[in-house]
Each structure stands twice: as C-alpha cells, then as structure tokens.
Amino acid sequence: MKILKPILIIAVGYLLLKVGIPFVGSKLHPGTWPVVPTSVLKMYMFFVVAGTLLFSTFSEDGYAGIVGPVADIYTNPKKGLLRFVSIMIVGSLGAYVAYQYVKPTFDAPVELRSIHPAPPSTVKMWGKSYSLQTLKNPLRADKANFAKNVEEGGIVFFQNCFFCHGDRMLGKGPFYQGFNPMPANFVDVGTIAQLTESFVFWRIGTGGPGLPSEATPWLSAMPIWHHLLSEEQIWKVILFLYDYTGHSPRVTAAQAH
C-alpha cells in the first residue's frame, strides 16, 4: 500500500510540530510548553501535506499508488461500504472545522501585532526635534567614559526598567505577567539586535502612547520616559542595554556618514 507512506510522513510531521517543538522548547525554557501557534501550524501543515504529495507523485508509479486507491474507493461498485465510511469521515471533518470556526468563544480576539512599527522621520522630545534617520548615540563616541556611562545606564535601568524587563533583560521582570503584550526581551536576536539606537531612543522616549497608529491595537504599557528621564539618561540606558546583552546596534548608511 503505497498510500500509507505519505500518510505516515504527514503524521510524523504533525507530531514533530505539535509535540516535538514544544518538548524541545520546554527544555530551553523550563516551566513553559512553547506550542507552535495555530496560525503557523496551519501554514506548516498545508505545505507538509502539499510537499509530501508532490514528492510522492512525481513518477507514474507513485501517482498511481496514491490516486489509485482513492479512485478505487469512489468508483468501484464493490466498495460501497468503504465509500460510505470515507464520505462520512470527510464530511464530519468538514463539519468539525466549520463548527470550530463559528462556535462562540470568550477568548480575546487574535490580533496582528506590529512588533517593530515604523518610526517617524523626526520626533520631538524635551522641546527639541530629532531626525531619527541620522541621529546617533552621542555617548558612544566617548570611549574614555564608556564604562562609566554604561554603569550609570545600568543604574537607570534597575531604578526604572527592571520591574518589567527583568534583571536579565529577558522581558520577565516581577510585573511581566500582568502585561499583554509582554515586555520586550532584549536578549532575543529579533529585538534591539536588529534596530538602530535612534529607534530604541524613540521607543523609550515616547513609550506606548508614542506608538504610531499602525502599531495599534498593541496597547503597550511602556511609560513616556522623556517625561521622567533626561536625554542623557536614555542614551546611557541604551548603552547599557547593548553592552549587557552583547548585541551591537544596527547602523544605517545615513548614520554611518
């Protein structure tokens, strides 16, 4: 039965995604069960099925081995019972999927988040206008006082940011569970590691209320830090973030010149 092989491959693929990935993830982050989100799982499974069918049917033998049994069920007069059962299974599956889509739920709606909303060209803080395309961290060039500035940035961090972002910058401070979206994980390669310092400066300075409309409905609880901190303090805390995590800030061509 050639048809069993692709079915087996698809089943193994499903198990790997459904159980394998969360299992490995739970070893990396103990105490969690990092499932593959349903939205991604559906896309993955679609292409696992499509890919398996493609490499199983490229030859005439393979094609006949998969299409043949299916065609036989639906055309052979002697297989009426099997045909009836298979139609019932396919129909029930369709009904189940339809029911899952329409059944009432009390869960919060799934919403598309824009983790890195586009920054404005310029931003106003402390009564000054900053061009984010060319803005550089003024303290980075001060090599002599670098360690001192990083240390002072650390103090600013632990006095203000630590409660949400945590002592290891993993986004898991004492209050983190109260937030959705969760506080940013600065160690992750997908956050400050791929952003410029001017972007981070803008995000810290203007906080959640400074997010552009495209970032909604991402209701970030981040305060407007330029109301509470000085410009120098924010630049110092940025130095600290990059220094602690070991990431280097991205530099655009305009900033490099």
Binding site: H29, P34, V35, P37, F58, S114, I115, G171
Partner: protein
C-alpha cells in the same frame, strides 16, 4: 556575382549602421539629458495652479533684494518650483471613480505586460543567436514563436500605459505637474524611445522570415539588439520616476528641481530597482511563455506538436529559473538600500505593517520552488534510465519542505492569549530563530541548491559518464563534495550570524550566496566536461510528460504574477501618505494605507484580469494560424480561378 556582392555589402552596411546606432543610443540619451537646462523646459512650462501661490509667497523676498541678479531674471521664463502643498480639492473625482484604485489597476496591468514584453525579447535574442551559432533551425523556430506570443503583449502594454498616463493626468494633476517639472526632459526622451522600440519590434518580428539567412540574418540579430536596447532604455527611464518617488534626488529640501536631470534619475534606489526589474522581467517572460507552451501541450493531439511544446515549455521553464535564482539577492539589495535610505521605509516594509505581505511573498516564492522541483522530478519520466535517481527525490523533497517552512516562518507570530501563556514569552524559543534574516538566508540558499540538484539529476537522466578520463571518473565526486562544502558553509554561517552584530550579519549573506554561486557555476562547468565523454543510456522522449506536470507551469506563471503584484504594491505603498517621499504629500481622500486583506484582494483581482488577458494573448496566434491554415487548404483544394472568384465575390 556582382549583384550578390552589392547585396552583401548593402546588408552588411545596413547591419553596421544599425549596430552603430544601437551602440551609441545611450550617448544620445545622455546628451539629451545634459542638453542645457532650458531647451526642453519650454515644453513643460504650463504654469501650475500652485505656482501662483508660490510666486506670491516669494514676492516680498524678491522686493527686498533689489540687486541686479533678481532684476535680470525674465519673469516670463519658467523656473523650477517647490513641491506644492496639495489639498483635497486638487484631486478631481471623475465619474465617481476611486482614483487610487483606478491608477493601481492600470499601473499594475501595464507593468505586467511591460515586464513580459521587455523580458521575452532578451531571451528570444539569445535563443536566436544560439540557433545561428549551432545552425539548428529548432532554436530559430522557437525564438520566432516566443516573439509571436509576445506581439499582442506589446499592444496591451502600450494600451494600459496610455490608460495609466491619462488617469494620472486627469486624477492627479498636481502630482503630475510636479513630476513633469522635474522629469519633463526625461519624459520627452521616453516618448521618443517608443518610436525606436516600435521600429525595432516590427522590423524584428515581421522581418524574421525575410531575413533568415546570411548577412540578412546578422542584420536581423542587430535589430533584435536594437529592440532590447530601446526596451532597456525605456525601462530604466520609467524606473527613475518610481525610484524618485521613493528616494527623491536632484532637488533641494523644498522639492525645487536643481536642473540636473541625471541627478534626478540616478537616485539612491535607481540601480537596485533597475537590476531587480531586469532580472525579474526575464524570469517573468520565461514563466509566461512556459504557460503558453503548457497551454499548447494540453490542447494538441499531435505527438510531434506535443514533443515540440514539451521542449518549448522546458526551455521557458529553465529561463524562468535562471532568472529566479538570483532574484532574491537582487531583492535583498533593493531592500537593504531602502533601509539605508530611510529607516522608516525599511521598517515599514520588513518589520512593520507590510511584514505580513512578506510572509505571503515567502509563501509564493516557496510555492514557485516547490512547483519548479515537481516539474523537474516529473521531467525524469522522459527517460527510462532516470529511475536510478528516484531514491533521491524523497529526501530532497523533505529538505526542500523544511527549508521552505523556515523561509516563511513569520517574525511576529499571531498567538491566542492561551498560546501566549503556554509559550511564556512574546518570542518563541525555537521558531523565533527562524523569523530573522539569518535563517531566511540559510533557507533560501538551501532551496536554490536543492532545486539546482533536481535540475542536475534531470540533465543526467539518460546520460552516464564513460571512459577513463579524469572528469568521467572523478567529476561526479567533485560535484558531490562541492554541494557538501557549500551547504556546510551556508549552515555554519547561518548559525554564526546569530552571534554577531546586525551589520556584520547582513554582510554574511554575501559568502552564503557566493557558496551557492560557486556550486552553480563549477558544477555546470564540470557537467559540460563530463558530458563530452558520456554515453546515452536509453531513450529520451520529449512529450513524455504527465498532464499534471503542465499545470505546475501554469502555477509558476500565476505565482510569479501574484508575487509581482503584491511586492509592487509593497514597494509603492511604503511611501505611505507621500506622493514623493518627504517632499510632496498626498492629501487626497485616499491618502491612507488600505488593510492587508483589501490590498491582497485588489492584487488578486488584477491578477485574474491579467490572466484572462494572457489567455486572449495565447489565443491570438492560434487564431492567426487557423486562418492561415484555412487559406492554405482553400488554395490547395480549389483551382486558382476559384480562389480569385471567391475573393472577388467578397
């Protein structure tokens, strides 16, 4: 004899003239662009409404400066103006048409056809040239047929181009006045280049049979070169308008044109856009002609025709793939330059609101790779001896699927609140690694290598190295070693790039791509050396392809078209509420970014209209052939007198 000599000289002379014209045509363009600042301004000097406001605003300043320089200026002379501050009333609404949707529709259809008719003549010329060198008439016939298919495309490209121009002038007059102020000269040259292209396309196509041999064939090749050169000039000139709208140059902060057209053309994004579109046009042309061949393959009953269209489909498919393989890297360069020019545009594109369209893009590119591999695997069926490679297809398929899943894994995961709690973090501890460029580069290089391996397997389908030569003995082993070394390098660099700064990480894509390129080039060379001393094992049958393989060629064409529509929208829409980024603001009622589903549906609707027109385009040559056939059989069936009588009776 004397007559022959005279004719030969005449043709050679004509060929030389065409060659010289083609060679110096870029100089004409350059000279025209630098031909004094006032020569062509007169043609675009209609005073726009906003000019009066600007003149009034500037008037006090001129009164203050009562020096000679100001007095010497002729007030009637047109001079460059700052970008206008348009208001809603500056955007006419004609017959209740939604201006943006109308322009979107016309521009996209124009671009689809333009890409097709610019891409096809490039490889038609190459195939014709191969035919001349190899003296194999099949190449010439195929090149001619490709041109035949594209001829209707020229008319449709021009028609939609005309519609687009009129819509822009009627619906966006303020914007067009500003653009004409900057690009007036360039637009005139652009219009003139149409005459050159028309001349070349008609003489090239209709002269095909007349110029089939000897010196005339060379002249014909020169005409093809002229067609491609004029097409290329048209493309790069129109690209300059699109790149100017994204990254304006040649103007001051207020948008005043500084008088140097070349500076306005050669903006920050012009060359990345030129390269990306040039390569994409070839790939796109190949995919559409492959669809044509599949269409003919499926609709013919003749065994010979089936073999011919199978070969034609395969050739088109290879052209599409040759264009596709470097395309992600050209796109990568364009995106990098977008980010370098404006962090805002870069993040809008890749990390912000359009990031999800990039997931769609990744899915479509993956679908193209899957279809391409499936077509190649089915192609093994043309040779019985290829069964010895079948065992490799399943593992190859698994690698392709895994690389594909990595390739389209989103950076921003859509999670329910329950899933968010289970994951315990905004970033998934495993999938989070697949969402960044380090993984994407690794995945796409692996996809390319796997696809190339499928291609190489097909090329070896009924061939086995023979003899005791070095390449026959060790060639395949060296190729295997190359694949292993390249893939090891790609994966190692991919993993390493997680641990280094973002700027260095971006640079690592270069050695990754180089690894892939080395395999592609060296392996092809080694193949050639092996094939020199090899023997056919079993028969190779063109036309021996399953029906389902032809549908993958259709899928290829549809995926390419969809991809172009979506990414074209992305490229254009990252300007957001700017006609010309940071210079000329869009203040129309449509100055908002539509929702992603709306944009996707709009692009889908345009793709459907386009595909309907493509089938019309495919049908036209068939219709012409039918009429020709009917006429022929009529002449063959009746006597000449009867034919004359029938014609007279019409």
């Amino acid at each position: 004899m004397l007559l022959t000599l005279k004719r030969a000289f005449r043709y050679r002379g004509a060929a030389a003239i065409v060659a010289i014209l083609v060679a110096i045509s870029p100089l004409f363009v350059y000279a025209a662009l630098n031909f004094g600042s006032s020569s062509l301004y007169g043609m675009v000097s209609a005073t726009p409404a906003y000019a009066e406001e600007a003149a009034q605003a500037e008037a006090p300043a001129q009164e203050e400066g009562q020096d000679g320089a100001v007095e010497a200026e002729d007030p009637n002379m047109w001079k460059p103006l700052p970008a206008p501050k348009l208001e809603t009333k500056d955007y006419p609404i004609v017959a209740g048409i939604n201006s943006r949707l109308a322009v979107w529709f016309a521009a996209q259809l124009h671009l689809f056809f333009a890409a097709f008719v610019l891409g096809v003549p490039i490889f038609v010329w190459v195939i014709e040239f191969i035919g001349v060198v190899t003296k194999d008439p099949r190449y010439d016939n195929m090149a001619h047929e490709f041109m035949k298919v594209s001829m209707t495309g020229f008319s449709l490209a021009a028609s939609f181009g005309g519609l687009l121009s009129i819509l822009l002038v009627v619906l966006y007059p303020g914007f067009m006045q500003y653009m004409v102020g900057v690009f007036g000269k360039v637009m005139v040259i652009y219009a003139l280049m149409f005459f050159a292209e028309s001349f070349f396309v008609y003489t090239y196509y209709y002269g095909w049979d007349k110029m089939a041999e000897g010196g005339l064939k060379k002249l014909h090749l020169f005409l093809g070169l002229g067609l491609n050169s004029s097409g290329m000039v048209l493309m790069v000139l129109s690209n300059s308008w699109a790149s100017f709208m994204m990254a304006p140059s040649g103007i001051d902060d207020a948008g005043v044109f500084l008088g140097d057209s070349w500076a306005a053309i050669a903006g920050h994004l012009w060359n990345p856009l030129n390269l990306h579109r040039f390569i994409a046009n070839i790939a796109y042309g190949g995919s559409l002609t492959a669809a044509y061949a599949a269409f003919k393959f499926l609709t013919t009953d003749s065994k010979e025709d089936r073999a011919h269209y199978d070969w034609m489909g395969y050739t088109s498919f290879v052209i599409a793939m040759v264009g596709l393989l470097p395309l992600p890297f050209a796109g990568y360069w364009l995106t990098k330059e977008v980010y370098d020019y404006s962090q805002q545009m870069g993040i809008t594109l890749m990390g912000g609101v359009f990031a999800w369209l990039f997931i769609l893009q990744a899915v479509l590119i993956g679908a193209i790779f899957l279809s391409a591999n499936y077509y190649l695997w089915c192609s093994l069926g043309r040779a019985e001896a290829s069964k010895r490679f079948y065992y490799m297809i399943q593992p190859l398929g698994v690698v392709i699927v895994i690389a594909f899943l990595m390739w389209f894994t989103p950076h921003t995961l859509i999670m329910t609140s329950k899933e968010l709690t289970q994951i315990g973090d905004a970033h998934h501890p495993l999938l989070g690694y697949f969402g960044v460029m380090a993984a994407k580069n690794t995945a796409v290089n692996t996809l390319i290598l796997s696809t190339f391996l499928s291609f190489q397997l097909f090329r070896r389908a009924n061939i086995r190295p023979t003899g005791d030569g070095f390449w026959a003995q060790y060639g395949t082993t060296i190729q295997v070693a190359l694949y292993i070394a390249a893939e090891t390098n790609i994966i190692s660099l991919g993993i390493w790039s997680y641990f280094i700064p973002a700027n260095v990480r971006i640079g690592l894509s270069v050695p990754q791509v180089s690894s892939t390129a080395v395999v592609l080039i060296l392996s092809t060379i080694i193949d050639t050396l092996i094939f020199k001393k090899s023997a056919d094992i079993g028969e190779f049958k063109w036309g021996h392809m399953p029906i389902r393989s032809q549908y993958t060629l259709f899928m290829l064409a549809v995926s390419f078209t969809w991809l172009m529509g979506l990414m074209g929208y992305c490229r254009s829409a990252i300007r957001q509420h700017w006609h010309v980024y940071t210079v000329l603001r869009d203040n129309s009622v449509n100055a908002f970014t539509p929702t992603l589903p709306f944009a996707a549906w709009m692009v889908t609707a345009i793709v459907l209209v386009f595909m309907a027109l493509v089938f019309f385009m495919f049908w036209m040559p068939i219709l012409a052939a039918k009429k020709k056939e009917a006429k022929k059989s009529k002449v063959a069936g009746g006597d000449l007198h009867g034919v004359i009588g029938a014609t007279a009776g019409e």
